[in-house]
Amino acid sequence: MKKKVLSLVLAGATILSMTGGVFAAEAEKEEVTLTGFVMQSVTGESGIWEGWGAQKLYDDLKIKLELDPTGNEVETKLQQYLVAGELPDIIGLKGLDQATLAMEADMLLPLNEYADQLPNLFENEHYANAIKYSQDFTSCDTGNLYIMPTAIGPTSYNSFNWVPLLQWDAYKAVGMPDVTTLEDYLDVVEKMVEYKPTTELGEKVYGFSLFSDWDSVSALEISTLSFMYGIDTEYVSPLMETNVITKETSSLLADDSFYKRALKFYFEANQRGLLDPDSMSQTYADVDAKFSAGRVMFSWFSWLTGSYNSQNQNNAEKVDGLASVVADDMKLYNAPAQTIGRNWYFAISKDCENVDAALEFLNWLYDPEICAYLSNGPQGVTWDYDENGEPYIINWDIVDNKTELLMPEEIGGGAFQDGVYAFNTLGPQAATVTESGYTLSYRYWPTTISRNPSLMKQEVNEMMGGVNALAEYLYANDMVADSTQAVNMITPATDDLEITVTQIGEIVKKYSWQMVYAADEAEFEELWSTMTEQAKALGLDQVTEYYTAEWEKALELVKEYE
C-alpha cells in the first residue's frame, strides 16, 4: 500500500518536474545509486555519471548512475564480472556473443516479466519488432526478453561511416586529379605528400597511417576498406566478405578476395614510402593525434579526422580539412534500417538489489522524449522552435564544440556530448521521427541540413557538381550500397567454432601486418599463401561453411522483418 502511494506521488512529481514545477514530496523518495557497465561506451572514464543528462536523471527519478570503466578489451572485463558471479545493475552489452554469455550464465533479468513497469519499452510500437525478434531469436530459446536492442529505427540520411577522405588543401594543390578506383589514391596521395612533406611545425606527413589496437580477427583498419565497395567484413563475420549488393558471401581469405586487394593497397603504399612505419604498433589515440596535427593525407572513416577539420575548415585564408573524395567505382555501405535494432543491448542484472530503480531507469532511458533530450539538450538552452514551428539549434557553439564544458550550470553543466556519451547508443535511431514530426536528433532537422556549410564543405559540394550533401552526389551516381538488416541476424558460432575463429584470427592478424610491410612482391605472395594454408589447416572451411549457411538463413528470415 505504502509503495503504491509513494509511486503515485512520485509519478506526480515526475510529471510536475518535467513541466518545470517544483514539488515538495520529491524529497521523500530515497536517493538510489545504480551501478553500470556499458561495454559499448569505449571510455576510460568512470565514476558517477555527471553533467546535464545525469542531472535530468536525478531530477526525474532521484537515481544516480555509477559507471565502471570500459576502455579496451571490454570482453575480458565482462568475463571477469561473470566469473565473479556478479554483474553491475545496468549492463550495456556489445555484441550478441557477449550478450549470449551473460544470458547462458543466467545472470540477466527477464524484462518481459516486468512489462508493467516498462511501458516505454513494451507499449511503444517502434520497439515492437525488436522486442519480438529478441524474444524469438536472441533469448537462448527461453522466449524471454533479457536484452533490449538499441538503435532501432530508420537509416540516417547522409551518415556514411566509411568514406574515403583526403586533405583538401593538398588535393586542390595537386590539381584535384580524378580518382577512378581504389588504387588511384596511391598516385594522388603520393603527389600530395610531395606537395606537403611536413607540417608547419616540421613534423613528417604520411599518406596513410593505420593502427592495430582494434584488430580482433583480421587487421581491421585494412579489411574495413571493403565497406567502400559495399562489402561487409564485420557484421556477418570478420572472416567473411558479404556483398550487400549481390547478397553473396565468401571467405576473406579467398584468393580473389577484396581483403587481398586491400592488403596489396597498403603494401604498395609502404613500398612508395607513404605508409606510416608505426602503423602496426601504434594505437587509435596516436593516429587520432596525427590526424589532428594534419599529418595524414588519407582517412577511411567519415569521422576519423582528429580536430583537423574543426580547426581549418572555416579558415578563409587556407581552407583545409579532410574532405570526401570518393573514387568513381565505389559503392559506399549504407547501414540498413533496423527494425530489430543493432546488436548492442541494455540489460538489468538478475542480482540487482534495487530492481525497481533499475527498471525505472531503463524505462526512462527508452522514453523517446528522454532520448531526444539527451541527444539535443533542453529546449530553450540549445534548441527551440522557430516562428514556423521548426526546431533549430540556438547555440551552435555548444553543439560544435561538443567536448567542451559549455552547458549552463543550472541544468547540470558539462559538455554537449555528455548526454549520450556514457551510453554511446540509445533505444531509437537518431533519424527516428518522433511525435513532434521531426527526427530525434538535431542532426537531421531541416534547419540543420540547410545550415550554412563550412567553407570546405562548400568547396567540396561544388566539386561534386553543386550538391548539398555527399548523399545527394552518391545517390545520383549510383554509388550507395544499401545494406540489409540480415547482417544483424547471424547466430553466433558454437564454442568450438569460435575457438577456431580466434585461432585463425591470430594467424590472419600476424601475417596481414607482415604482408603490408613485406620487402617485395614475392614475399607478399609467399606470406599470403602461408597465411591461407595455415588458416585452412586450422579449419577455415568449416567457418566459411557455417557463415554461408547462416547468411542464407538470415536472408530468408529478414523478409519477415522488413
Binding site: T76, A102, D276, P277, M280, S281
Partner: protein, 309 residues
C-alpha cells in the same frame, strides 16, 4: 621406567611447539599455494564464465590435447616452447654476470662511488616493464631519439621503426633483461662477499697474491655455492619467465620470436575467454617445470655431489 617412557621427551615437546610456531606459515602455503590447485579442475570442463563448474560439460582431456590436434597448432606450441626455453637458457647462461659484476664492484675502493654504481644499477629492477617499454619507445620508435638523431646527421633518410625489427629478438630480450636485473641480481653476491672472512684475504696478501688472484682463488670459490643454489632455483623457474616483458615488446613482426608460454596462455586463453584451455596449457607448463627441476637436481647431485633435495 614405564613412566619416563610415556612422558614426552623435551625434544618432542619442543617439536610440537615448533610445529605450532610454523603452523601459520604452513597454513598460508596451503591456502595460497595448494588451494589454487583446485582450479585445475576447470581444465576438464567446458567452462563458461558465470556458470557453476558442474553445470558445464565434462570434456575429459580435450583441452590437453587441443594444442596438438592439428599441424598449425603443433607448430605454434613448438615455437612457443622453443622461445620459452631458448630465452631462458640465454638468461641462465648469463646468470654468472651478476656474480662477476658483484666481484668487480666490491673491488672499487671508493665507497661513495661504489654505492652510486650499485644504486643506479639496482633502480631499473623497480621500474615496471610498461614504463621500460615507454622509455625504449621514446628512444627507438619512428619519432624517437635515435631516428631523429640519425636523420639529423643525414645517416638515414626515412625513419626506421626499430621496435618492429625482428632480427636477434632473443638477444634483444636478453639485453633488456640484463639492463633491468643486473644490479638486483648482484645484491645476493655482494652480501656473500662481505661475509667472507677477511683473514683469508689478509693471509693471501702476506702470500703475495695480487688482486685478480684473490678474486679468482678466494672470492670465486666462496661464491660458487650461492651461485649454484641460485642456478637450480632458476631452473625451477625456467618456464616461468613472466609475461609483461614479452607482452609490451610484442607486435605482429616480433611475435614469432618472443611469444613465450605465459604470453601464449594469456593470448589464447584469457584474452579470448577460453579459461579451460588456458588452465590446461598452464598445467602442461607445471609438468615441464617439475621435470626440469628434477633433471637439474640430479645433475647437480652427480656433478657437485650436493643437491637441494
Amino acid at each position: 621406567m614405564q613412566k619416563s617412557k610415556k612422558a614426552k621427551s623435551p625434544r618432542q615437546k619442543a617439536g610440537f611447539r615448533l610445529f605450532l610456531l610454523s603452523a601459520p606459515f604452513l597454513l598460508g602455503i596451503l591456502i595460497f599455494s595448494y588451494m589454487p590447485l583446485l582450479g585445475w579442475s576447470y581444465s576438464f570442463f567446458n567452462y563458461k564464465p558465470g556458470r557453476d563448474l558442474f553445470d558445464c560439460d565434462f570434456v575429459g582431456f580435450k583441452w590437453f590435447i587441443a594444442p596438438f590436434n592439428n599441424p598449425v597448432l603443433r607448430m605454434q606450441f613448438v615455437r612457443v616452447m622453443s622461445n620459452t626455453l631458448g630465452i631462458n637458457l640465454l638468461y641462465m647462461a648469463t646468470m654468472i654476470l651478476p656474480m662477476i659484476f658483484a666481484m668487480f664492484l666490491m673491488e672499487i675502493p671508493w665507497k661513495g662511488y661504489r654505492k652510486l654504481v650499485q644504486t643506479l644499477t639496482t633502480i631499473p629492477n623497480f621500474i615496471s616493464w610498461v614504463l621500460v617499454y615507454a622509455a625504449f619507445f621514446s628512444l627507438f620508435s619512428t619519432e624517437g631519439l635515435l631516428n631523429t638523431l640519425l636523420i639529423g646527421m643525414g645517416v638515414i633518410k626515412t625513419p626506421v621503426n626499430y621496435l618492429t625489427e625482428n632480427s636477434h629478438m632473443w638477444l634483444k630480450m636478453l639485453g633488456y633483461h640484463l639492463w633491468k636485473g643486473l644490479g638486483w641480481g648482484a645484491i645476493v653476491y655482494i652480501s656473500a662477499i662481505t661475509s667472507i672472512d677477511s683473514e683469508i684475504y689478509e693471509a693471501a696478501n702476506i702470500d703475495g697474491a695480487g688482486r685478480f688472484q684473490k678474486m679468482w682463488y678466494i672470492t670465486t670459490p666462496h661464491l660458487l655455492p650461492t651461485f649454484f643454489v641460485m642456478f637450480v632455483l632458476q631452473i625451477g623457474n625456467i618456464i616461468n619467465n613472466g609475461i609483461d616483458q614479452y607482452l609490451v615488446f610484442s607486435n605482429a613482426m616480433t611475435q614469432d620470436a618472443i611469444e613465450v608460454l605465459d604470453l601464449y596462455v594469456y593470448r589464447y586463453g584469457l584474452q579470448q575467454g577460453n579459461i579451460s584451455y588456458a588452465t590446461a596449457v598452464g598445467m602442461w607448463k607445471s609438468l615441464v617445470s617439475v621435470l626440469l627441476v628434477l633433471i637439474a637436481n640430479t645433475l647437480s647431485k652427480k656433478i657437485r655431489g650436493s643437491s637441494i633435495f
